[in-house]
């Protein structure tokens, strides 16, 4: 340890950056620019690949397609074509029912700039579909957000038939079915054992 501890003061710039740099005299009288807004937009073509393509195509018919890992038996939705646990290709297609339960949730009480369609408070939840090994996110709708619990049974609410696309957004949200709540025995690893059927 040195005799004199080194102390940095955040209000004192490092010596090499203290020199004040000015603007050229001919523009010295103009208003200084501290920031500019430059909106940027990127558009790109997305190729979903085999597994996700099947999933998205089925969405047009209000069907939810998952895939099973041949080694662990786990059922992945949306399917990515690969099992992240076993590192092997998933292949066995599984059609899942559009029902499940709320694994956990949050109630958002702050408006979101990019989602003017969502009026707070609203419930965003992880939905574990019946027969699936992992949950995915969705909105719980057609109920008071405060009435949602861990284990609330829900079913999909689809867009009107004439608006269906090949997109996950066909599911507008999930509404409570009114069935009794699911008892969650191992909350640390909710329902995700993969020992299905």
């Amino acid at each position: 340890m040195p005799a004199q501890p080194f102390q940095q003061d955040p209000s004192v710039p490092p010596s090499c950056v203290v020199e004040v740099t000015g603007v050229p005299e001919k523009v010295a009288s103009t208003e200084p620019v501290q920031s500019v807004r430059t909106p940027i937009r990127m558009e790109y073509t997305y190729t979903p690949g085999r597994a996700l393509s099947d999933y998205l195509v089925a969405m047009k018919d209000k069907k939810i397609i998952a895939e099973r890992c041949p080694e662990t038996g786990q059922v992945f939705v949306p399917p990515r074509g690969v099992s992240p646990v076993a590192g092997v290709v998933t292949a066995g297609k599984v059609e899942l029912p559009a029902t499940g339960y709320v694994e956990s949730f949050n109630i958002t009480r702050v408006p979101i700039a990019t989602r003017p369609d969502l009026e707070p408070p609203y419930c965003s939840a992880w939905i574990l579909l019946d027969g699936a090994s992992i949950s995915f996110m969705g909105l719980v709708i057609n109920c008071e957000p405060e009435s949602v619990k861990l284990g609330t049974r829900v079913r999909a609410v689809w867009k009107p038939d004439d608006e269906l696309e090949m997109a996950a957004t066909n599911i507008l949200g999930w509404e409570p079915t009114g069935e009794p709540d699911v008892e969650i025995p191992d909350i640390e690893r909710i329902g995700q054992k993969g020992d299905l059927e």
Binding site: Q8, P14, V17, P84, S104, A113, I134, E188
Partner: protein, 386 residues
């Protein structure tokens, strides 16, 4: 072949603030880099390579900023590498820099990480609509709050534990001149009464958005020994990641987190984690992550981490395992830098250079960072003894 022993000999930080309108991104980095050089008593001539860390480019909308920053920093011609592991990046960047010295590829490395959040909108930059999956719909807080709700349900923790963490970290920040938030008049009741943003996360349990940079100088054993100034010796570095979505993933205590911790503690030869670690700088952007990580890192039994919060064990004053004496991410969140700040603050503690936030007699400290959907992890342990 054994690893080269590696020392931290310089730490430089900027004042963290919601808007650093007085400097450009390059100016921000220069502040941190030159403060680190000043503390190390070095110039660019002493630096062999630079390792930069940055969260996603579209947080500021500048693609591959490391390329122009080399010139702005004054290190043109030196080998530069960029690291990107989401929110954990500051920690991973320091670990990559350490590996360059440990492997004897370079003798002295400057590592730096930053974010200038005021130049874009990081909160929503990652909440992009995608056709193949439903959006998180609620930003980062909306993503993490269900995990915290799950932790609360499995641990039966009292409801106000999160508020206790937030209040403690904001109190700690008052002793840190670099911290973004200095809420001198904040009361515990105000934390409790602050609005729910992402129920169960309150406004005051949430990190701010900050501009800021953090830099460190790492060097080899001979230069560390010869250094005329405080030194932190790196005793272990570890990184792990896991897929965000797989069956059986434990989101409260991810397997990658536990394995990363086991690795870093084993490297440092630590058996009784709670007893042998004197200070922890932990990545806690939302209050409930403190008890969750205390368990995941093995400082507490599963379901018991909240008790350490409740009984004051994690406070700088009177706690046996002070956590986030700097004020933590809850008081300064320049995302890309946040992990490196944890690592740097751990180093400052064992150097005895943490000023008013110094933990008395701190000899061994843990720096911790996580990122993504709590799927990327980086940790290091530093000590005052070689």
């Amino acid at each position: 072949m054994s690893k080269e022993r590696t020392a931290v000999v310089g730490v430089g930080q900027t004042k963290y603030a919601s808007t650093r309108g007085d400097v450009s991104m390059a100016g921000l980095l220069r502040e941190a880099a030159y403060r680190a050089l000043e503390m190390a008593g070095m110039t660019w001539d002493d630096i062999d390579a630079v390792v930069m860390g940055k969260a996603p480019d579209f947080f500021e909308g500048v693609m591959m900023p490391e390329i122009y920053l080399a010139e702005a920093l004054g290190c043109v011609g030196k080998p530069i590498m960029r690291v990107h592991t989401a929110g954990s990046v500051g920690g991973s960047t320091a670990n990559v820099a350490a590996s360059m010295v440990q492997s004897r590829v370079h003798e002295t490395v400057l590592t730096i990480a930053w974010e200038k959040q005021s130049e874009s909108n990081a909160m929503w930059a990652l909440s992009l609509p995608q056709p193949f999956t439903t959006s998180v719909n609620a930003g980062a807080g909306g993503y993490f709050s269900p995990i915290m709700r799950r932790y609360m349900a499995m641990s039966n923790a009292p409801e106000l534990i999160g508020c206790m963490v937030a209040f403690k970290d904001r109190q700690h920040a008052l002793a840190n001149p670099y911290a973004h938030l200095h809420q001198h008049d904040l009361t515990f009741d105000q934390v409790v009464e602050s609005p729910m943003l992402w129920d169960p996360i309150r406004y005051s349990e949430t990190c701010p958005s900050s501009d800021g940079a953090c830099a460190m100088i790492l060097t080899d054993e001979a230069r560390g020994d010869a250094h005329d100034g405080p030194v932190a010796w790196i005793k272990g570095t570890a990184m792990r990641s896991e897929s965000n979505s797989y069956g059986g993933r434990n989101m409260v205590s991810p397997a990658a987190s536990e394995e990363c911790a086991n690795d870093v503690f084993a490297q440092a030869g630590i058996h009784d984690r709670r007893k042998e670690i004197d200070a922890v700088e932990m990545y806690v952007p939302f209050s409930w992550y403190e008890p969750m990580w205390l368990e995941s890192l093995g400082f507490a039994e599963k379901g018991e981490g909240w008790r350490m919060v409740e009984d004051g064990s994690t406070a700088r004053e009177g706690g046996d395992l002070p956590v986030n004496c700097s004020g933590g991410v809850l008081s300064s969140n320049a995302i890309g830098a946040s992990g490196m700040i944890r690592f740097a603050e751990a180093a400052l503690q064992v150097m005895g250079q943490a000023g008013d936030r110094q933990v008395d007699g701190c000899r061994t400290a843990l720096g911790h960072a996580y990122g993504g959907g709590a799927q990327y992890f980086a940790m290091w342990i530093v000590a005052s003894d070689k």
